[in-house]
């Protein structure tokens, strides 16, 4: 687990990683904890990694999920070392969009990506990523860099503030100079090819890799999960995300995206039958994956078709084994699509679980009934508010419909501290 320390308390597998925001020493609260086993030399080195920031609550290192609205609901972002589980909506439209946002954010920030899918080739997924919306300065620099491959020299002489010309130029972190934490994406445009090629992506396409036998004795994990775990562990170890390669100068984050985990395409049959043979396969996979993540600088987003899982107990176990769980429910195809109450929104979003990391308490938003709306350049998540009730006929049908969402909202807020499902007022 990565934590920002004001006096160098280090965490991690080999204990050799300390990361912090750039302005570490002037944060408002100074945590004066004892120095924990100060034998590792890299405690004094405070490294700041592109695209991350420390959480204001507990100093946890956060990365953006690609969706600034979701970042806000999760307490600032996704903590490094944790798993975000997205429960897919019925037709896997919005969950794959969130998945793409996550990957696109990784490319924009220069993080390394690991994309695993059993359905589509990762190269195809990358081609479909949305284009980032850069502010004008960023775009101009980006174009210049691409055309000229210049790094810093600019020939424009400053006429008024000429003293500033003497200041050293800041170096660019990558082809995109925007260093904001979360970015906005334009869904109608595709990510420029140069950005994709400039980033480092490891792809895992299960049908390609399924032929070779795993060199691990058969445990109750399905074949696909074993291969995926080995692949992830390989990448983490070889590229030094777990601190095993201390010579690496520039620390980076590994973003892992796993699509449709638990679907039959991975060889798992929990979506097919209720009493399946290897019902522990998915939960074991999640446990070992979390172990890998906690000991490395990586963050993972998994989309899972939980609406297909027959055995509800497995869903509960999977939720307990993940750190952050977000459920999406789109209105497409349901009777709510034509319901005038929901006409402004495309679906509901349920924050089912938020982890308490390094803390007894956690950030929880007051608003439990959240709905999302996808516009071309913006994916907004806002409090579900009903449109004004203007006509007589609408009111009678809307009362019945209100009973339905309150049943939904019950378990929604029940994730935090909840009780019975439906209360009549």
């Amino acid at each position: 687990m990565a934590a920002v320390a004001t006096c160098g308390t280090g965490v991690g597998k080999t204990g050799s990683m300390v990361m912090a925001g750039s302005k570490n020493n002037v944060t408002g609260f100074q945590r004066r904890g004892p120095r924990a086993s100060g034998s590792d030399s890299s405690y004094s080195r405070l490294v700041s990694i592109a695209g991350t920031r420390p959480s204001v609550r507990n100093g946890q290192l956060l990365v953006s999920t690609g969706l600034p609205a979701l970042d806000q609901l999760l307490g600032g972002g996704l903590a490094v070392g944790t798993v975000l589980l997205i429960e897919e909506d019925k037709y896997n439209i919005y969950s794959s969009l969130l998945f793409k946002y996550f990957l696109a954010e990784g490319i924009v920030n220069g993080h390394t990506l690991l994309v695993a899918s059993a359905k589509e080739d990762p190269a195809d997924i990358l081609q479909e990523l949305p284009a980032p919306l850069l502010d004008d300065n960023g775009k101009k620099d980006f174009d210049e860099d691409v055309c000229n491959h210049k790094t810093s020299e600019s020939n424009i002489k400053m006429k008024i503030a000429w003293r500033y010309q003497l200041l050293p130029k800041m170096e660019q972190a990558g082809p995109v100079s925007s260093s904001r934490f979360g970015h906005y994406y334009d869904v109608s445009k595709k990510m420029p090819q140069e950005l994709i090629e400039a980033s480092k992506v490891h792809g895992f396409f299960f049908p390609e890799k399924s032929s070779s036998t795993p060199n691990i004795e058969p445990c109750s994990l399905t074949h696909g999960y074993i291969k995926l775990l080995q692949f992830i562990q390989n990448i983490i170890y070889e590229e030094g995300f777990d601190g095993s390669n201390p010579q690496k100068k520039q620390k980076n984050i590994l973003r892992i995206g796993i699509q449709n985990l638990g679907s039959p395409l991975w060889g798992d049959d929990i979506c097919c039958t209720e009493n399946c043979d290897n019902s522990h396969s998915l939960t074991k996979f999640l446990y070992v994956l979390r172990g890998l993540l906690r000991t490395s600088l990586s963050a993972c987003v998994i989309t899972m078709p939980t609406h297909l899982i027959q055995n509800k107990a497995i869903i509960a176990r999977v939720t307990n084994l993940s750190d952050t769980v977000v459920g999406l429910e789109s209105f497409i195809g349901s009777e709510r699509e034509t319901n005038p109450l929901y006409k402004d929104y495309h679906g509901l979003i349920h924050i089912r679980q938020i982890p308490r990391l390094n803390n007894l308490i956690y950030d929880v938003s007051d608003v439990k009934d959240l709905a999302f709306k996808l516009k071309r350049k913006l994916f907004t998540i806002e409090r579900l508010h009903l449109p004004p009730d203007l006509s007589d006929t609408v009111s009678r049908s809307s009362k019945q419909d209100l009973a339905e969402p309150s049943k939904l909202l019950g378990p929604g807020c029940g994730a935090m501290a909840g009780g019975k499902k439906h209360l009549d007022f």
Partner: protein, 248 residues
């Protein structure tokens, strides 16, 4: 020797685990903590807020910490020479949790030279429901607790504290078997549950405390108390039902 069962339904009961950990460490007991859910640094940082330092305790031998997440990676990817407590992760049909029991036994064994550096031994498990998710049957977990109780509670007069998630209305039969079995064996049950009326900012949940005497089932009636609580940054404040300062 007492077995305390912590159970949470619809909410997160981990604050109880942190409390017991800091409580026993401050009481100078030798603690074996089987932490399967979170990493060592998480408990360490929360422990510092509650006033104990886990690293110091680990270094001087008061605390034996089994970090499940980190060890699971080791067990899974590298073949181990000697039996590892989490060996069941590698095997297809793990029969029992014997290696884990041996680990606990080794950790809490009283020193041979007779001098007692610490007070009673304590086993703390966070949490047992994860063992069900990892492929062990409910009976295997109950056997493990039974063995631990025989050794730690009866032989060495120590205590055991274990956390189990209550699945509530999801029909997790294995979990229910485990929970019922443990409830019958335990002396003290602390049940943290969410409020029946839903989410509230100021009252995070309700804690039910139940004292039992499992050896004499028909003797006196079990005492029970209910408090509501709010978790704060460094402590948890309890108050009687309906007496939350936010409401009054």
């Amino acid at each position: 020797g007492k077995l305390t069962l912590l159970c949470d339904a619809n909410t997160d009961g981990s604050f109880l685990v942190h409390h017991f950990l800091s409580f026993y460490l401050k009481a100078n007991c030798k603690v074996c903590f089987v932490a399967l859910i979170q990493s060592f640094s998480h408990y360490n940082i929360v422990g510092q807020k509650l006033g104990v330092s886990l690293t110091a305790a680990r270094e001087c031998g008061q605390l034996v910490f089994l970090e499940g997440l980190k060890s699971s990676v080791d067990v899974f990817f590298r073949t181990q020479a000697e039996p590892h407590p989490l060996q069941f992760l590698r095997s297809a049909n793990a029969e029992n949790l014997q290696p884990l029991y041996e680990f606990v036994r080794e950790a809490l064994k009283p020193a041979d030279d007779g001098e007692a550096a610490w007070r009673c031994p304590v086993l703390l498990v966070d949490d047992l429901s994860v063992l069900l998710s990892l492929g062990m049957g409910a009976v295997a977990v109950l056997d493990f607790i039974h063995y631990c109780r025989a050794t730690v509670c009866w032989e060495w007069k120590g205590n055991i504290v274990a956390l189990v998630h209550d699945s509530g209305d999801t029909e997790d039969e294995e979990n229910n078997i485990l929970l019922n079995g443990l409830s019958h064996q335990s002396h003290l049950i602390l049940q943290a549950e969410g409020l029946a009326t839903g989410f509230c900012r100021d009252v995070h949940g309700q804690l039910r405390i139940l004292w039992r005497t499992p050896s004499q089932p028909t003797a006196q009636r079990d005492r029970s108390l209910t408090y509501q609580y709010k978790i704060q940054d460094k402590s948890v404040s309890f108050f009687a039902k309906g007496m939350s300062p936010a409401v009054l």
